[in-house]
């Protein structure tokens, strides 16, 4: 291998990514802390969720917290035993810097896709999204996502997770800034 490669950063993130199996569909998630997984709220319904680990073992999980408006959720996964991701600061990102996503697009397990940061902030008028969703702050990435990526991490070149893959608008990858996870934890701790 010659030239720059994502492999080192990707390896670090892959070890923390899990698969969510809900009623025949596949979503993604990643480890945030001991026995805690982050994913998208739209991936998990109310009730029990099965989590498949990189080694193929399955664990049953329970939704601990969910913010349906911001579309993120935290799952309790007993005896998970996987390393947590390192997180980065989405407000320190620079437009044009390289990013990658890891997830299970269309059921392809542990696939990475790469690209760059398109913008951080709300989406301009004209994007096919409801106004309230357009006005939220998004980590917008010029990289390819597909159904199954939802809930998976988007990380910088060093493998620091900066967003949670959430949706695709006009081909653009939209991720919830990773800072929303701490905000969710704080809001429920009070």
């Amino acid at each position: 291998m010659t030239g720059p490669a994502f492999s080192a950063g990707v390896r670090g993130v892959m070890d923390s990514v899990v698969e969510l199996i809900i009623a025949g569909t596949v979503g993604s998630g990643f480890v945030w802390g001991p026995d805690v997984v982050v994913t998208s709220a739209h991936v998990v319904p109310q009730g029990p969720v099965m989590v498949r680990l990189p080694n193929g073992q399955e664990r049953s999980a329970r939704v601990r917290l969910a913010d349906r408006d911001r579309d993120i959720a935290l799952l309790d996964v007993p005896s998970l035993g996987l390393p947590a991701v390192r997180s980065g600061d989405p407000t320190a990102l620079r437009i044009g810097q390289t990013l990658f996503a890891v997830g299970h697009p269309l059921g392809v397990r542990y696939a990475m896709s790469s690209g760059i940061l398109h913008a951080v902030g709300p989406l301009p008028d004209g994007y096919p999204l409801p106004p309230h969703a357009r006005r939220l702050t998004w980590v917008q990435a010029d990289l390819r996502l597909a159904p199954g990526n939802s809930g998976g991490p988007i990380a910088d070149a060093r493998g620091r997770v900066v967003g949670v893959s959430t949706m695709i608008a006009a081909g653009l990858a939209l991720a919830v800034p990773i800072t929303a996870v701490d905000a969710l934890l704080r809001s429920r701790a009070a």
Partner: protein, 304 residues
């Protein structure tokens, strides 16, 4: 290896930062603004397709200020429009060298859609080539296609190299699905004409023609080697062709020394700076070769 990816990542982000200083947001259509490039001091270039009105135009500068703009002119043929803004407001774009592009070269598209920061997309050159005529009728000096996504609002913004040189203006309207870029040379040529006259003049003969085969006997009689040409079907009164004495039934075989067998070859020869030039037209009339000098006129401007 992670160090080199990080430095590559930094290089891309640096290129966006540097080039974005000359990228503005253009408000010339409902809802979503498009992007534009501060090409010369006080002059912004964008795509014609994104300028939907002639009045009440404005641009948002990189510092977030929104200032008025006036339409200097547009050239639908090359999908370019030129706006004037106050001078001295922001740096001008640094041109790069699109002639050196080859498939595989990495490129970035930059845009600005309001008072936020710049927006960027990344990809590689897919195909390159020489002069071509786009479906809108204009001549584009280089064929530059890339695999990057022109997201909503990125049209009219620049394609740049990783060293921040501007390679051209990205057009969402010229072709799909690949992104097409109007190269620096075409922008400069169109810009000069629009700033001088307010529009781009195109050469005009005023004759309708159709491809025709030249029979072996005619070819032998006229002592010609060409087996095809363009037969004149009609000549507009007082048009350059009429003034030069061209007649219905003449078969044009060459203009200015270039063989012509298709009408788009004539359009190509009349593009650029032919208005006011005298071109030699070689033709067959009544089975005999003739040479006629035509003073090229200016294509009448149709109302948009």
């Amino acid at each position: 290896m992670p160090a080199s990816l990080s430095s590559f990542s930094d290089q891309l982000a640096d290129a966006v930062t540097r080039a974005a200083g000359a990228v503005v947001s253009v408000h010339a259509r409902p809802r979503l603004p498009s992007s534009g490039v501060h090409w010369r001091d006080g002059v912004v270039v964008t795509t014609d397709g994104t300028v939907r009105r002639d009045q009440d135009l404005s641009v948002t500068l990189p510092d977030g200020r929104r200032i008025p703009a006036q339409l200097a002119g547009r050239d639908p043929g090359t999908d370019l429009a030129v706006l004037r803004i106050a001078t001295g407001e922001l740096p001008v774009a640094t041109p790069g060298d699109p002639a050196g592009l080859r498939p595989g070269h990495l490129v970035l598209a930059i845009g600005r859609t309001g008072d936020g920061g710049p927006r960027a997309a990344f990809g590689a050159i897919s195909a390159t080539g020489g002069k071509w005529r786009c479906w809108k009728g204009g001549e584009i000096d280089l064929w530059i296609q890339s695999d990057l996504t022109i997201y909503p609002g990125l049209g009219g913004g620049p394609l740049i190299s990783p060293d921040a040189g501007v390679l051209g203006i990205n057009s969402g309207g010229l072709s799909r699905p690949l992104a097409t870029t109007i190269p620096v040379a075409t922008v400069e040529r169109v810009l000069d004409q629009i700033l001088a006259k307010g529009y781009v003049a195109r050469g005009w003969l005023g004759a309708a023609m159709q491809p025709v085969r030249i029979s072996d006997t005619t070819r032998a009689r006229a002592a010609m080697t060409r087996d095809g040409g363009l037969v004149i079907l009609s000549v507009e009164p007082d048009a350059p062709a009429a003034l030069a004495g061209l007649m219905v039934g003449d078969v044009i075989v060459a203009i200015d020394g270039h063989p012509v067998q298709q009408s788009d070859q004539v359009l190509t020869l009349l593009a650029g700076d032919t208005v006011g030039r005298t071109l030699v037209v070689e033709l067959i009339r009544g089975g005999k070769p003739e040479r006629v000098e035509v003073l090229v006129g200016e294509r009448p401007r149709t109302r948009r």
